[in-house]
């Protein structure tokens, strides 16, 4: 872990100041590009250059895993759907495939802990174990399993960036993963189970009350403080949360922007933030999920979402939707004329 954290430093303040100064010279009223202006300044800080290069090519990595807490009846979907959706991703038939093709984003799918065997699929095989243990009755993961899953994400980020990718996007798949996310978000934001537990893929009032009680009791019994991110991953999982946290650390270590998808990525980002606060300098919030814990996570992360369209699918769909907004924001810095170059006096 230390060798990962030692590679991470804060965003480049000089590049950010240069980008803010350049924004004020471009042929538009000051501030008229709203949130995109600050976004461009942040990317300058991440990459340490002004104007930054357009962050392309991009890749969305869908980390997939299963959750032992599924046994508690927190989701209406059978656990086998995780594996079935991996086959769907591999065949190009899921929403994230359609979005990614549209927005020129490549797709990688990683089995970091799916319960069902998926060796036959043409995906990245990095299974740490077949699903977590049930967080309601015991620790979801051992210390070693947590470290192995983090390494999967970190090493993959390293490799993707070596392969030439200049923007990483997060994706996720795993039936019952909003339950583990709720426990993680409550841990790091100090929120109650009530506030952070939602309907996930769509559950009725009775199942929501049951799911909330599961989260509440698990929080009370594990009782992990916000200062112990590795212990929180041990207690609640999931394997994809650990891998995602590693992926974010890896993006930050390489000074490459990473776009977060929804509530699963938000929970993983809270873990990464607790491991090293500067990781968040390299994170862009792709969207705000309809899941209630997500807005709470984003507030603690200090990130403003780019897209807010009631998505609650996961897979990376919100991150992929946001990607062209990020590239538009960066292109402004590189490509727009200044008042001086355009011969306009203000």
């Amino acid at each position: 872990m230390v060798e990962y954290l030692d590679r991470i430093g804060p965003a480049d303040g000089a590049a950010m100041r240069a980008a803010a100064e350049r924004q004020s010279q471009l042929t538009k009223p000051a501030g008229s590009l709203g949130v995109l202006e600050e976004l461009s300044v942040r990317v300058a800080g991440m990459t340490g250059s002004c104007p930054p290069e357009v962050p392309a090519p991009a890749v969305v990595t869908v980390f997939a895993a299963d959750h032992g807490v599924h046994a508690q009846g927190v989701s209406p979907w059978p656990q086998e759907v995780t594996a079935a959706m991996l086959a769907n991703f591999a065949a190009g038939g899921a929403a994230v495939n359609a979005f990614a093709a549209n927005n020129r984003v490549d797709v990688r799918v990683v089995d970091v802990g799916v319960a069902t065997p998926v060796e036959q699929l043409d995906i990245i095989h990095a299974k740490v174990r077949p699903g977590t243990r049930d967080l309601y009755v015991e620790d979801a993961l051992t210390e070693d399993e947590v470290r192995d899953a983090i390494a999967v994400g970190f090493d993959l980020a390293d490799r993707l960036i070596q392969d030439g990718y200049r923007c990483l996007l997060t994706g996720d798949m795993g039936i019952a993963n909003t339950t583990a996310s709720a426990a993680l978000i409550a841990t790091f934001t100090g929120s109650t189970a009530d506030a952070v537990t939602g309907r996930g893929t769509g559950i009725d009032d009775a199942t929501l009350a049951h799911k909330t009680a599961i989260v509440q009791e698990a929080l009370a019994s594990h009782d992990v403080p916000a200062t112990e991110p590795l212990k929180a991953l041990q207690a609640y999982g999931g394997l994809e949360h650990a891998a995602l946290a590693g992926y974010l650390l890896g993006a930050a270590a390489n000074k490459v922007p990473v776009i977060l998808d929804g509530v699963i990525a938000g929970a993983a980002a809270l873990v990464a933030q607790a491991l090293h606060p500067a990781v968040i300098d390299y994170c862009v919030a792709g969207h705000r999920s309809a899941e209630p814990g997500h807005a709470i996570a984003l507030k603690t992360l200090g990130l403003q979402p780019l897209v807010d369209l009631d998505l609650r699918l996961g897979e990376g769909t919100g991150a992929v939707l946001a990607y062209p907004i990020l590239t538009c924001a960066v292109r402004v810095l590189a490509e727009m004329a200044t008042f001086e170059s355009a011969g306009i006096t203000s």
Copy 2:
């Protein structure tokens, strides 16, 4: 006008029902793509097919004109900036050029009434008159000028679609155009000048109070009812609003989706709605501008914006940012697997 309106009919209800049914069969929890699901259903209705083809290629048309009310001191920018920005668009140095290049949208620029001569620029020349008259002291346009400007927009939409474009986007440029927009929005929404007048490109409190008073007095003196859209264009202009209204009518007549940019397009859409309510069936709200009249206009139009990032630049930037969201929504219908085809039982 009648020959335009006769070509317009409502969206295709059967195609919309087929699209809604198809959404329910795709490999995702029901409703999990949020606003994008309804958007895909609307495009099916516009084009009369399910699944609809991806609306591409796309073109953003920047209608440019000047405003006589500029003489009242409603903007800090000199009127010559309109022409200077046209040169900037033609040279590819404006924000809309950067966004459009990023999102694979072509750019057309139309002089429908710029005060400064711009014959030397490689743009579409369709000047009806060099700027409107001052709406504070007289009618901005004659009845013939309004009809001519509407024809510029309608005929251009027809031609672009004949040329193969399958999605039209609106853009606009014109110093002082938020003043005319405020008067139009107040007329069609029954709002006060206070509620709909904003800071445009950025004015101080004193100028905002003055601008609001100008709008309020103009509304009182012209006193055009909401049932008289052509008279409203005569009273307040601008030439780009009239051309944009025609462009929306043209898109609707050809059953092609049109993405609205900000407050100028919103004002023009209210005119078009008053001319023929079914026009709005073909309109998508690209974004919500920071200008206060825009949200009020969108409410009356019944449209929900796709992007909400505090943009207040115009030019078509908000529409171009939204374009990939529209194409993602449509691709879902055409490209996603169904539960049946993917072999997943729910």
